[in-house]
């Protein structure tokens, strides 16, 4: 006998912080992450019958949020081009945020960045991450391994640069 899917309300409360954390890792901006998470959860509510059956509803919601952010960025780029307007750079980052790490993640290739956000920030299992990304678990494992290597190198380089400055 299969367990019945959770109610949207229960799932929403437990999944929201993890989805938002992943989106914050992808965007580096708390406000944008919240907006994208809200939007993604609205979509999840609209399609809950189907989303609830998915292997990783949280993974799906993160991908939806990520696409929302992309769309928003496209819009900003168009506005910049048309209006000659450069928006203020005022990323809203939480207290205690590991800025160095987040900036290193931002410089990772897109697929590695997504894998890190899903697995580490949203705390999804390798299987759930694989389901959300549409790849095999082996691919997720190797992508995460490469990402960690890249991050280690970047963080080391950053440490060295700091030491040299001092």
């Amino acid at each position: 006998m299969t367990a019945s899917p959770p109610s949207f309300s229960d799932w929403y409360k437990s999944a929201y912080p993890r989805v938002a954390a992943a989106l914050m890792t992808l965007t580096g901006d708390r406000w944008l992450a919240r907006e994208a998470a809200d939007e993604a959860f609205v979509r999840a509510w609209q399609h809950w019958g189907r989303v609830a059956q998915m292997e990783s509803p949280s993974g799906w919601t993160i991908i939806v949020g990520r696409n929302f952010v992309r769309s928003r960025i496209r819009r900003l780029l168009v506005e910049q081009r048309l209006l000659g307007h450069v928006p203020d750079s005022c990323a809203d980052r939480p207290e205690g945020w590991d800025v160095e790490l987040v900036e290193s993640i931002e410089r990772l290739p897109r697929r590695q960045r997504l894998a890190v956000a899903l697995h580490y920030a949203a705390d999804l299992s390798i299987g759930e991450t694989a389901a959300a990304m549409g790849v095999s678990q082996g691919t997720v494992a190797s992508t995460l391994h490469t990402a960690r290597e890249n991050l280690s190198k970047r963080l080391r380089d950053s440490e060295l640069a700091k030491e040299m400055q001092q």
Binding site: F8, S9, Y12, K13, Y16, P17, R18, A20, A21, A22, M24, T25, R30, A33, R34, A37, D38, E39, A40, F41, V42, R43, A44, W45, Q46, H47, R50, W60, T61, I63, V64, N67, F68, R70, S71, R74, R75, V78, E79, L82, P94, E95, G96, W97, D98, L101, V116, Y120, A121, A122, D123, A132, M133, G134, R148, E149, L151, S152, L155
Partner: protein
């Protein structure tokens, strides 16, 4: 490496963003559904799909009382009158450029032109021209990605996935494993119309047969959530 791993493990544990009231999410979803239903039952509903991307591939269609009305851009290299597997219930946009629009270079211009082709000459809609004027003003990348757009959350289709309102999208999975975005544009104007736009990143799929994309668009038009009433 260990340092990176330890620091990564802290991601998401700092000052978590807590969920707001679930009622707010439900209310937003409900309003959107109501709005969509209201539009769907209107007499002047038109839905169209454009596929466009770096591969200069664009096809579009509009709901029509007798079926679907399709148009294509010139870059697609085919004519709507010579679609390889022309689906029943569909026909090419009458008059104008049945070989596709021409002279438009940007994708946004193509998007406007193709929907105009499909809707502006649609005899089922007396105010079709007014509709196309609205489109011309507000349907390009500018508006498309600024303000009046609702990007629905149907993304990353994969083999066997049944996103897009239950539509089997295994064909889409072959086209692009990522970056499929469905965009719904609600246009103001004398005719309240709904346009459904699908962008596909064709940079990696330029060798995909045009006919497959045509079939995808047709199936979306026929089965999508904004199918004309």
């Amino acid at each position: 490496m260990k340092d990176a791993e330890e620091r990564l493990a802290q991601l998401g544990r700092l000052e978590p963003i807590e969920a707001g009231p679930v009622q707010a999410i439900e209310e937003r979803g409900r309003k959107r559904s109501v709005h969509r239903r209201r539009i769907e039952v209107g007499a002047a509903v038109v839905s169209a799909i454009c596929l466009f991307g770096a591969g200069s591939l664009l096809i579009g269609g509009a709901g029509h009382k007798n079926g679907l009305l399709l148009g294509s851009d010139s870059g697609a290299g085919y004519s709507t009158t010579t679609l390889p597997a022309y689906p029943s219930g569909c026909r090419a946009a009458p008059g104008g450029s049945t070989n596709g629009t021409s002279g438009d270079t940007s994708e946004s211009q193509q998007a406007v032109a193709i929907v105009r082709q499909a809707t502006g000459e649609n005899p089922a809609h007396a105010q079709g021209n007014a509709c196309s004027i609205d489109l011309e003003l507000s349907f390009g990348f500018v508006e498309c990605f600024s303000g009046s757009v609702d990007v629905s959350g149907l993304v990353a289709p994969r083999e066997g996935d049944t996103s897009l309102s239950g539509l089997p999208v295994n064909m889409l999975g072959r086209l692009s494993k990522r970056d499929l975005v469905e965009v719904t544009v609600v246009l103001p104007g004398p005719m309240e119309s709904v346009y459904c736009v699908v962008t596909v990143d064709t940079t990696s799929t330029s060798r995909v047969a045009t006919s497959e994309l045509v079939n995808v668009a047709v199936r979306l038009l026929q089965s999508g959530p904004l199918h004309p009433s």
